[in-house]
């Protein structure tokens, strides 16, 4: 899991998708994912159309296919699980290439693969076209509790700092011949984790002090106002609306 997280998903650009207000994009992606999840798995063609819709968004946003595909690696563990389902699944068996597989299991595997993939691609497109701090502004506009948004803001700001500290600790361990091979090495890793916690916590205290020094009283001042026009809402919601239309035909 860790490896996938180190990719920068955001792809700077100036496409119409990049320019849409974040709150519109967030809501559009969420609605799209809900429509996808609610689609019956027998409607093969509907999933095909969803994929076409996402491809169209990617084209408008000028996000290259490679950028999306590389980051889809995040799904791999569940793809493996999906392939396992037909083997261990219950229900009537069918024979595929000499293997006895569960027919409902095959359906389930297809269902998970299709929906998870569409969901992941939609999320990647959102993250690729929207700066993280802008996503948070959008979340705030969507009435997500502001405390939650602030926590996420601080987390994103200091993620690289903390992960960097952890890297340096690992380099320090390994340059003295340490390698994590089995359970006996766990305490060594854990002691670094303890040190990392103290550093993170103390940094949190210092950040809080820095905020207090500049007049913080518990709520963030609003520096940027982001409002969305009807046209922007309409163009963002075109994606889930189109998906909903497809779903309507499928039912």
């Amino acid at each position: 899991m860790g490896a996938g997280h180190r990719h920068e998903l955001y792809l700077p650009g100036d496409s119409p998708v990049h320019r849409l207000p974040p709150q519109c994009k967030l809501l559009a992606v969420l609605a799209f994912a809900i429509v996808v999840v609610a689609t019956p798995r027998e409607a093969f063609w509907a999933f095909g159309l969803y994929a076409v819709l996402l491809a169209a968004v990617a084209a408008v946003a000028r996000v290259p296919a490679g950028h999306v595909v590389r980051r889809m690696a995040i799904e791999v563990p569940f793809v493996l699980f999906a392939f396992l389902i037909p083997v261990i699944g219950m229900g009537e068996r069918v024979s595929v290439l000499g293997l006895s597989l569960s027919a409902p299991g095959l359906w389930a595997a297809w269902n998970i693969l299709a929906k998870a993939t569409l969901g992941v691609v939609a999320s990647i497109l959102l993250a690729a076209t929207t700066e993280p701090r802008v996503v948070l502004l959008g979340a705030q506009r969507l009435r997500l509790p502001s405390l939650l948004v602030q926590i996420a803001m601080f987390m994103l700001r200091y993620l690289d700092v903390i992960v960097g500290e952890m890297r340096r600790m690992r380099v320090a361990r390994e340059s003295r011949g340490f390698a994590a091979r089995d359970v006996r090495q766990i305490p060594v890793i854990a002691r670094s984790a303890g040190a990392l916690f103290i550093r993170s916590y103390e940094r949190g205290e210092r950040v809080h002090l820095a905020m207090l020094s500049r007049g913080y009283t518990g709520s963030m001042p609003i520096i940027d106002e982001m409002s969305a026009s009807v046209v922007q809402w309409a163009s963002a919601l075109a994606l889930p609306a189109a998906a909903l239309a497809v779903l309507g035909c499928a039912l």
């Binding site: 899991m1 860790g2 997280h5 990719h7 998903l9 967030l26 999840v37 609610a38 689609t39 980051r71 995040i74 569940f78 389902i85 699944g89 219950m90 409902p104 299991g105 389930a108 595997a109 269902n111 998970i112 693969l113 299709a114 929906k115 998870a116 569409l118 969901g119 992941v120 993250a127 993280p132 996503v135 405390l147 926590i151 996420a152 803001m153 601080f154 987390m155 993620l159 903390i162 992960v163 952890m166 994590a180 359970v183 766990i186 305490p187 890793i189 854990a190 984790a193 303890g194 040190a195 916690f197 993170s200 916590y201 103390e202 949190g204 950040v207 809080h208 009283t217 518990g218 039912l251």
Partner: protein, 341 residues
């Protein structure tokens, strides 16, 4: 273990979303009471820390490795409320910025990996530290808390999978496999958590939420030598060491179990495949409104293939809101009585 879109049916996703939202709402209040205006930066930094330690892979047995969940660790280090918030934000950030975990599955992920691990971990930790005091008690509590939290989380996953999973796999087999693997992972999690907590305890004991309260008198040094004066280390601002928070969390645990058990028994006698087909073919919302005000005896629905999944969702959500409301109320009363004391 980040669940993607499409793994659970819509009703389960929505119900879990409601559980997660209610839990996070309660914890927002609780964390604010614990940390005051420090909540945002402190929880943000701790969330970044949790994110980082989740990247630590540790060897479990020959050839396999697990990674830290961190729920129990967060609960012990920064308290259960802040712990849940940190886990929720980590999962939110992973879903939105790293496409790890589906957006519609966010509720499931927050429930399983945030709320359940913290609840189970904190409950075990408090029980152990009541029985065994001192640093040894804290370390042992941390080990057991983390050890228990991982398989419990896996079992709740299996339970949800039984209720609303989209794959026709024997639920007992899932529970056994998930439980077995996660006991092993839990041992690693327990070891890391215990040593991490012990390390922090040795250097900054005041940072471990469960083990605070060391203070000495102030000393003035001048030409006449040293004199002891009144006043406390940390000045007047330091809050009293927070205690308790066990009862609301046990209540929460019981409540969550009841909700899940209720929903499970509701579905238990029906065929999960049938449920899913109904949900997908007919659209569960329409069904729900048909049945919502009809006469319905829960037990009777076992025979009917088409259980109104939406009703279950509504019932589940209602129960959860009741439990969460009661929890918040209990927590507020506690805070009130402490303030008066």
């Amino acid at each position: 273990m980040h669940v993607p879109d499409g793994f659970f049916n819509a009703a389960t996703s929505v119900s879990a979303g409601a559980v997660a939202a209610a839990g996070v709402a309660v914890c927002l209040r609780g964390a604010r009471r614990e940390l005051d205006d420090r909540t945002a930066p402190m929880a943000g930094l701790v969330a970044a820390f949790i994110f980082a330690v989740q990247m630590l892979n540790f060897p479990v047995a020959a050839g396999t490795s697990g990674h830290l969940l961190g729920g129990a660790l967060a609960a012990i280090l920064v308290g259960p409320y802040t712990g849940v918030l940190c886990m929720a934000v980590v999962l939110l950030v992973q879903a939105v910025f790293f496409a790890d975990g589906g957006l519609t599955a966010l509720g499931v992920n927050v429930t399983i990996m945030g709320i359940v691990t913290v609840l189970a971990g904190w409950g075990v930790f408090r029980l152990v530290t009541r029985l065994a005091r001192g640093k040894a008690g804290v370390t042992a509590g941390a080990f057991l808390a983390a050890l228990v939290s991982v398989p419990v989380s896996a079992l709740v996953f299996s339970l949800l999978f039984w209720i609303g999973g989209t794959a026709p796999v024997d639920p007992m087999a899932v529970a056994a496999a998930m439980g077995g693997v996660h006991v092993l992972i839990g041992i690693g999690e327990g070891l890391i958590t215990a040593v991490t907590v012990a390390t922090v305890l040795a250097v900054r004991p005041d940072l471990v939420y469960g083990a605070r309260g060391l203070s000495r008198r102030l000393v003035l040094r001048d030409a006449d030598g040293e004199t002891t004066v009144g006043g406390t280390p940390g000045g007047a601002d330091e809050p009293a060491a927070p205690r308790g928070a066990l009862r609301p969390f046990l209540l929460g645990g019981v409540g969550l179990t009841l909700v899940l058990a209720g929903v499970v028994s509701f579905f238990a006698s029906s065929d999960p495949d049938g449920l899913e087909a109904v949900a997908e073919n007919k659209g569960f919302l329409g069904q729900a409104s048909d049945h919502l005000f009809g006469s319905w005896a829960l037990a009777d629905y076992g025979e009917v293939g088409g259980v109104p999944v939406g009703v279950a969702g509504v019932v589940g959500v209602g129960l959860v809101l009741l439990v969460a409301g009661g929890l918040a109320y209990a927590a507020r009363n506690r805070a009130g009585s402490r303030a008066r004391a």
